[in-house]
Symmetry: C2
Subunit: 334 residues, 2 copies
């Protein structure tokens, strides 16, 4: 173990609306000493994900809020650098939720040993990790697309949406993405193989979207909520499915968007299902294996936006909320 | 066959917002002559149901709109009074969708012979008919209540809601109704056995509702939509189910209600399922048998609000939309 000290990002103030950098503080801390059964991990990558915004609020939700003055939580991959635990020897690569810090110690609960040979280490946080599994479970288990159906996904160039669309193409669906900006839409179509991708920031969005789904929408995998959800609801087909994965347009809103098209849910007998991937633990192994296999076979492409160093994490997180990332937003810690 | 002529209620203008009586016209018509294979039915009761309002609009929906200048559709029970069809002899009692008229002829498609001995004839249009089956399928198949859970139903004193709450009590749930006015709420609690019923027309509605669901809401069977749906969403538990059966608060609205609590669907992983009972034909026989059995056994109570004569149908329909009925709204035609 080096003489380096640990560094951590703490939440020091609950954001009101959009977070600001002063809601966070970077601190040094001693590297924890190990007791029998424990091991020390040097994190290589930290995952930044939209759900983190919700946990910065002090409200009842599906996970407890992040505590003020404590290290922010988050998914990580790293390497064991000291160990008094035979199952996690020095050199082992691990995926865990060690949060926004360089070092963490553990007894191994909820820590998974990974192989870097199959896919790059960072991919276990993205395409073959939680976001990819979210796409897999939400699309296949909840969305249940059939070949020939039209699948729409918002956040189409993001970590989850990009996988949703590609899996839907593997199923044999027509896939229409919704994303912010021409660069993301071009990426979704040209690199990911979507049939179309509509830029919601243009004034022609509603009519362009309508033109892109001439046979209506059978599955809408929603990552954003708000006015986009309202628009897509107006184009959904009878018996459509709507996995509600995220509402990123709402996370920093001081007033919730007022949704108008509730009637479509009734008239079209739509199934709207809010879901959180951690509720589906039994699906993770199969999903992870399938995703990694598709990556290796070249059937699943992914992009990473990588911020350099722990100090860059707060700003990168704000960028994620603003949609500045393409694909998976990571922080490189080493 | 008597020398009486047929009388019919036609839709002569599509309502804008709330229907008015001049949207309807009552006409006489000859009683149709029979060909081989046909029979003539004298309708005894016409069912009035909220869904009819939607079909008065010329919009894409789950059923085609009622045609202008034509007899309005609707469920009926009646008696065969002339017949050239051996399966439906004179004297047979039948349930069908012969619409807002005294007489109709048929070849027997979608006509069901019924026994008046089991339950009164009119019950096949209500508690043991389409509304009761709606309650049965929506609650049991979609709502999937478990004993000890809290079930909330709006339109609690109506044809569907009253059955929903009573079945939920049979399952062993805590049942909270929502209805308009003290009389309906008193009926739901004292006659139907609901644990509580909250009058949405009082200023204390939101706080009284909150007090009535101290353990939150596991199933919300929604008949009304609008602000009541929004309120109930704010009290729903993780993994709650929300069968969306009707949106009667919206049927005459010129602007849709703007729903705020979409976030609850995500955070609580709620399943919202719009449904139409006609999509579940395989469930009808079992549901109908169970409902009739519960009625006979005294486990399922029901009330009928009966308008007298075909001429009273338009006004009774307006009353139904305003919530003036208690229980099932019928029109007695004989």
């Amino acid at each position: 173990m080096s003489q380096e000290r640990n560094r951590q990002v703490l939440l020091v103030r609950r954001p009101q609306g959009w977070p600001v950098e002063s809601d966070f503080r970077i601190e040094e801390a001693p590297i924890p000493a190990l007791e029998d059964g424990e091991f020390l991990v040097r994190n290589h990558f930290l995952s930044l994900d939209p759900y983190m915004r919700g946990r910065m609020n002090d409200v009842r939700s599906y996970a407890p809020p992040f505590a003020l003055g404590e290290v922010l939580g988050g998914g990580t991959v790293g390497e064991v650098v000291a160990s008094r635990q035979v199952k996690f020897p020095v050199g082992a690569l691990v995926e865990a939720s060690f949060g926004w810090q360089l070092y963490a110690k553990s007894r191994g609960e909820a820590v998974r040993r990974i192989e870097a040979s199959a896919v790059p280490l960072s991919a276990w946080l993205g395409v073959a990790g939680m976001p990819g599994i979210t796409a897999y479970v939400g699309l296949l288990d909840i969305g249940q697309p059939a070949p020939g159906e039209t699948v729409v996904v918002s956040g189409a160039a993001g970590a989850v949406g990009s996988v949703v669309g590609q899996i839907a193409k593997l199923v044999g669906c027509r896939v229409v993405g919704i994303a912010g900006g021409a660069a993301k839409c071009g990426y979704a179509v040209q690199t990911l193989g979507f049939d179309a991708c509509i830029d919601y920031r243009t004034p022609e969005f509603a009519s362009a979207f309508k033109d892109a789904v001439p046979r209506g929408v059978d599955v809408y995998f929603d990552n954003v909520g708000g006015s986009i959800l309202d628009l897509v609801l107006s184009r959904m087909n009878p018996f459509a499915r709507l996995p509600l994965c995220g509402l990123i347009s709402q996370y920093n809103a001081t007033e919730p968007y007022a949704m108008r098209n509730v009637m479509s849910i009734l008239v079209n007998r739509i199934r709207v299902q809010g879901f959180i991937v951690s509720d589906y633990p039994s699906r993770w192994p199969k999903a992870r294996a399938a995703l990694a296999e598709w990556v290796i076979a070249g059937k699943l492409r992914y992009h990473e936006t990588v911020a350099d160093g722990l100090e860059a994490a707060p700003r990168a997180f704000l960028g994620l909320l603003r949609g500045e990332n393409l694909g998976k937003q990571l922080v490189k810690l080493i």
